[in-house]
Amino acid sequence: MNKLITLEEAADMIHDGMSIMFGGFLGVRNPFKLVDAIIEKGVKDITLIANDTSFPEVGIGKLIVNRQVKKVIASHIGTNKETGNQMNSGEMEVELVPQGTLAERIRAAGAGLGGVLTPTGLGTVVADGKDVVEVDGKQYLLEKPLRADVALIVGAKVDTKGNIRYKKSTRNFNPIMATAADLVIVEADEIVEAGELDPDDIMTPGIFVDYIILGGDK
């Protein structure tokens, strides 16, 4: 069970039409090497799931500019004008999801739950077409679980079993995305032997991680 693979091997697993979750927040620690590999391979018609679409020249923002994305599911697209342009021209579909709802939808998929009952979005366009469930007299929006074919995440320290530690504000969506995709590849700043990380301080158990590539030197 050697999980360590090359960037080329990772790219071989990413195909046209896949739904892909990307860790990161406003371009801060997207999996830069994996993104560049996807650009180089020219993967098309991606459904991109992430907090945001970064900036035009940074990380996953480049996938938008490069027109490799068919649909975006994100909470914020304002920092990448190209996302708005392609949305307005009808070239690309955009589903805007409140950030907390996005997190819970992904977690619900990972946790085997049927959905999320949240007050967020009630009475707004976010509620359009969705069921409202009443619990003890209060209304909640039923938001459905969100899975992906692939999750491409980043880790600061990753052991050879795939156990991950994140660093500071770059944890964000990575831990929950790791639970909600058929294929999970982590781009590691540093790779260490299994047993080197304190078992109390591992943030994503290695069972969620299929493969590891060495990142860094962005």
Partner: protein, 219 residues
């Protein structure tokens, strides 16, 4: 007051709303400035929706940490006792009512406490980010903004733009006054002495209730 002075005036007045021990989320822009005017002896904990509590000021030049940015992508620092977590926990904190006060800007607010601040159809669609969760989950929602947009009303009888949340706003603080959203409508409780009640009303698209105890703003 010029635009910068107005912003500082608003931020200073917002800061007075915060109590010792409060957990506070400040939106991008003007709300972020509130952190600069926290009164002496008041300790608050700033939450950043990308995943931490205990946000400190911007780092000195050259000391930026590429692993540590705020929800606007700007470099920040962490105060002693701060803590990092993931997005699910971050919004558990936000949606679960563990944030005492959230301060954010608005395109429109109305007398029902409805808020619109995330899109202008056909023009600007940045997305709601964490705003919908914040105004739904925080115990107290303060809108901090200029009273009008170049003369156009932003405080309205009814919002015209797509909403961020329904019945969510508690307090509106502008360069003209401090307004509480009540069941009867928007009540002007403090006024900038540079303006008259008539001027504030004229700049407002909803009929203001004037507090019997209307006071001058002190910042």
């Amino acid at each position: 007051m010029d635009a910068n002075m107005e912003k500082e005036y608003i931020a200073r007045r917002v800061a007075k709303e915060l109590k010792d021990g409060d957990v506070v989320n400040l939106g991008i822009g003007l709300p972020t400035m509130v952190a600069n005017y926290i009164p002496e002896g008041i300790e608050i904990t700033l939450q950043s929706e990308n995943g931490f509590l205990g946000m400190g000021p911007a780092p000195a030049k050259g000391e930026e940490d590429s692993y540590l940015v705020n929800a606007g992508g700007a470099f920040v620092t962490l105060n002693p006792g701060g803590v990092f977590f993931d997005s699910a926990e971050s919004f558990l904190i936000i949606r679960g009512g563990h944030v005492d006060t959230t301060v954010l800007g608005a395109l429109e607010v109305d007398e029902k406490g409805n808020l619109a601040n995330w899109m202008v159809p056909g023009k600007m669609v940045p997305g709601m980010g964490g705003a919908m969760d914040l105004v739904t989950g925080a115990k107290k929602v303060i809108v901090a903004m200029n009273h009008t947009a170049k003369g156009s009303h932003k405080i309205l009888k009814e919002c015209t733009l797509p909403l961020t949340a329904v019945n969510a706003v508690d307090l509106i603080i502008t360069e003209m006054g401090v307004m509480e959203v009540t069941e009867k409508g928007i009540e002007l409780v403090e006024i900038n002495p540079e303006f008259t009640v008539e001027q504030v009303q004229a700049a407002t698209g909803a009929t203001l209730i004037i507090s019997e105890n209307l006071k001058p703003i002190e910042v």
